[in-house]
Symmetry: C2
Subunit: 252 residues, 2 copies
Amino acid sequence: MTKSPPKTASTTLEQDSIGLPSAEEDHARRRRNPTRERLLAAAGPTFAQSGFDHVTVRELAAQAEVNVAAVGYHFGDKLGLYRAVIESIRSRKDRRFPTPDNAEQDPRKRLTQIVSNLLCRMASSDETGWETQLLLREIQRPTPVFEHIVRVIFRPQFEHLIETLRELSQSELQAHQLEQVALSIVGQCTYHATGYGMISILITPENLETKFNTNSTVVHIVASTLASIQSGTIQDYEQMITEFLEATRKNR
Amino acid sequence: MTKSPPKTASTTLEQDSIGLPSAEEDHARRRRNPTRERLLAAAGPTFAQSGFDHVTVRELAAQAEVNVAAVGYHFGDKLGLYRAVIESIRSRKDRRFPTPDNAEQDPRKRLTQIVSNLLCRMASSDETGWETQLLLREIQRPTPVFEHIVRVIFRPQFEHLIETLRELSQSELQAHQLEQVALSIVGQCTYHATGYGMISILITPENLETKFNTNSTVVHIVASTLASIQSGTIQDYEQMITEFLEATRKNR
DNA sequence: GATGGTTTCAAACGATTGTTTTAAACGGTT
DNA sequence: AACCGTTTAAAACAATCGTTTGAAACCATC
């Protein structure tokens, strides 16, 4: 009845189509709203820790010290709150890295920075930590906002990585090979983040602390990538492996 | 009241401690039980597809065409049924690969086989497909049986992989470096399985079919691994990356 | 065919989920 | 101070979860 003002319908909006005339003041008014902001701020880390499905709205409300009905009133939906969290991540990322240009550097240093940033943000639980962990959960178990996230957040970083790899390979690798190498890097990083529970069981404790911390992992990933790229023998190996596979298939 | 016979308490047994006198005939009797077997057979793929949490016991019962109370009667618990599924996976694996010896081969061929097997079982949804996918889900979101799975199922395969890598490197790599390479391989494989939803968005459709199918992925992973191992320059690269990281940390 | 243990079934249980309701409290304007 | 739209709060909503119940069906044995 009297709840017309906010309550964005979370199922209808796909993109951020904020451009209406009254939207400006509306948004400004909301920003001064303490409970909405408190809920939004608390929802991020909570979603990141347990994932969308395993978080209850009562948990979110308790974490923000607001009433449970607040999520329905301000965001319409649990999914609406989640979308708002995603949007806040994106806008914050754009503001912090307006242009990802630490350009004209040594591409090897740039690759090291990319991997280091990725792994550090995945590992630690500081301000930017929960953001990356939330995005990680989106890969593991996609929600309705998955495709949006990939296109808006992941793709730019992915292309930045590919561009760096292109400089590194000195155009000896084809486009799809660059993509493969990039995916390998991202895959190793995500695995060290999501699979740490298994790693800590498989690896002996003393090695775990000294050789499998974030720094050592960065060193290994970057070093093996550089070694495989610049050895110049990948093509020969690929030919050999292909023959192996064909032989195995015949033997079957 | 009258439900004494089966109903194993799922919370108490951690290991497979089947050795009691009457357990033999009891187990034999159960094996002839159609509903128990039907439930167990249907639960595997269902758990694999949606994960433990997102599967309802009514779903499991409907899939097996049995009553919902059957899971409580035969397995005591939803988690008890899950444990039985895990146990069935382990026993089947032991029976199929009693000794993982396709030994005395070219270690490069053996590595190719390992990666190929891993990726094929992850990708396809045949008989062995759901098993691997269920184990994958366990990594992404561990259940109370996680540690048991890692020690009993994952560790043997992991050590087999490391042994192969040791032969490949001709003892030029230290133990922890072998572990790092092994984790990189496993990480890339799991990423190509779990992250395919993202890959299919990031990669252009024509390349996706031709260059990112299972075969091409196997070729790339094995080839880049061999190239990085046998280039002999990893140590130099590691030294360089370490200096990069220290420089970055100072600049901050 | 009656008996007693074993297995199946429909129904219901208590707990928890996301969401909605209804009224009270708030805050600026006249 | 009275008004009115906006925001908060406690309670209830319907739906669904895992699990349990109690009686019916089954089945070999006497």
